[in-house]
Symmetry: C2
Subunit: 248 residues, 2 copies
């Protein structure tokens, strides 16, 4: 990992990546838990025999990957964090911009994935999770049109279904897609009447879970998303053609 | 974007990210095509009023995202590239390691996604693409057991199906999953007899495409993947529990 000071930055381009990988191991293995502070820049330079630019670049790479936050100011430094499930969204939004994907393409992928998650959830869900889902619907119904509660409970419902499916990879994908392009997040508004229809749709999925009926759960989720998509297309026709852009 | 030289690196932690985003725009919009050289470090420092560490960090971030390669040595520097569809694999493998995903979880996700791609391909595929798929099967059949040709034609078949589906997001996901955990890539060997069975399975998918039958295409792809998974579980029982690890 040693490098000469003042060495041109484009020599040995992988040194900082290798250091980032070394630094990541105890974080990924859980040896260094979230919230813990890593050694500061000076200490890392001594520890790894690396120059300041290499250490800084390695820390930026870990920050970009969501494994640390870099706190500024006195007492600052690298703090370990657990990357959230949607931490892929930066990288995915970049690839999708390159591929020319639109909001409609992201919606299309959610419509392929979420019914599968509902199917699997129906095969695996326990009563405690069903109770949580019913609580989410109850809060939607009590809400009477407020935007914040609707956003929160809507995300909670879909998040609970994804978790109940125990399909970690699909869960990561759907979380990421929602972070990139979700109607509610981009400002789609739902009237009280429309919110009530969403509560009904969520209840239909829950009823299929209670019946442990995978086919019915899949179909209910598919219909729910198809209805949402129709609403977005009708009320926000320009939304669907909006290109995905790299968000960071 | 201006910063004082010698400023501590952990102040203004986002400066290099902002510069990376500025530098990315002409690449993402296609104004600067792949293969083109960006200004060197010195020129960028002048252009953007940024210090050397900021420019270096910004370039590393773009490199990590697959938007440039950094060529070393005299005449080197940042060269624009088009990130490949599987360039998400680094970021995804990191998140999946954090989430504790195994090879089986990745296989499980492929089994959810690829039948959907086959269904959509059946709705949209044209004759030219079908001819390419048939050529791929013909090359598999002529191969008589060689590993390289099998790997190439197997990937070609699945890649063609994904493209024919015109589901850019799902295509990116499946490409990424194959880059992270594919039986053939991790060294699973197929006997000549087994390869012949794979060719039959591919042909069954193609026959469903020719009949423009989405249900049959989805079912044929599902059965093909289920058979592959059974083979992997039987021959390489330890493979399925292998944890996904951050690959960079």
């Amino acid at each position: 990992m040693t490098e000469r000071p003042g060495q041109p930055s484009l020599r040995g381009p992988k040194t900082s990546q290798r250091l980032a990988h070394v630094l990541a191991q105890p974080i990924l293995s859980g040896t260094v838990p979230p919230g813990e502070r890593l050694p500061n820049e000076q200490a890392m330079m001594a520890l790894y025999g690396a120059g300041r630019p290499t250490v800084r670049e390695a820390l930026r790479l870990l920050e970009a990957r969501g494994l640390i936050t870099l706190k500024t100011g006195p007492g600052g430094g690298p703090i370990v964090r657990r990357p959230p499930k949607d931490s892929l969204s930066e990288a995915l939004s970049l690839v999708l911009q390159v591929e020319g994907a639109s909001f409609a393409d992201v919606t299309d992928a959610r419509m392929a994935l979420e019914p599968v998650l509902a199917r699997r959830a129906a095969e695996r869900i326990d009563d405690a999770r069903i109770a949580e889902l019913e609580d989410s619907v109850a809060q939607l119904r009590a809400n009477r049109g407020g935007h914040e509660v609707f956003v929160t409970q809507n995300q909670r419902f879909h998040g609970l279904v994804a978790e109940a499916a125990h399909s970690v990879v699909l869960d990561v994908f759907v979380s990421t897609l929602k972070a990139i392009a979700d109607g509610v997040r981009v400002g789609v508004q739902y009237s009280a009447r429309k919110q009530s229809a969403v509560a009904d749709a969520h209840q239909a999925v829950i009823d299929a879970f209670k019946a442990r009926d995978p086919d019915r759960a899949e179909a209910a989720m598919r219909e729910h998303l198809a209805e949402a998509e129709r609403y977005w297309r009708h009320r926000y026709p320009e939304l669907m053609t909006r290109p995905v852009q790299w968000t960071y």
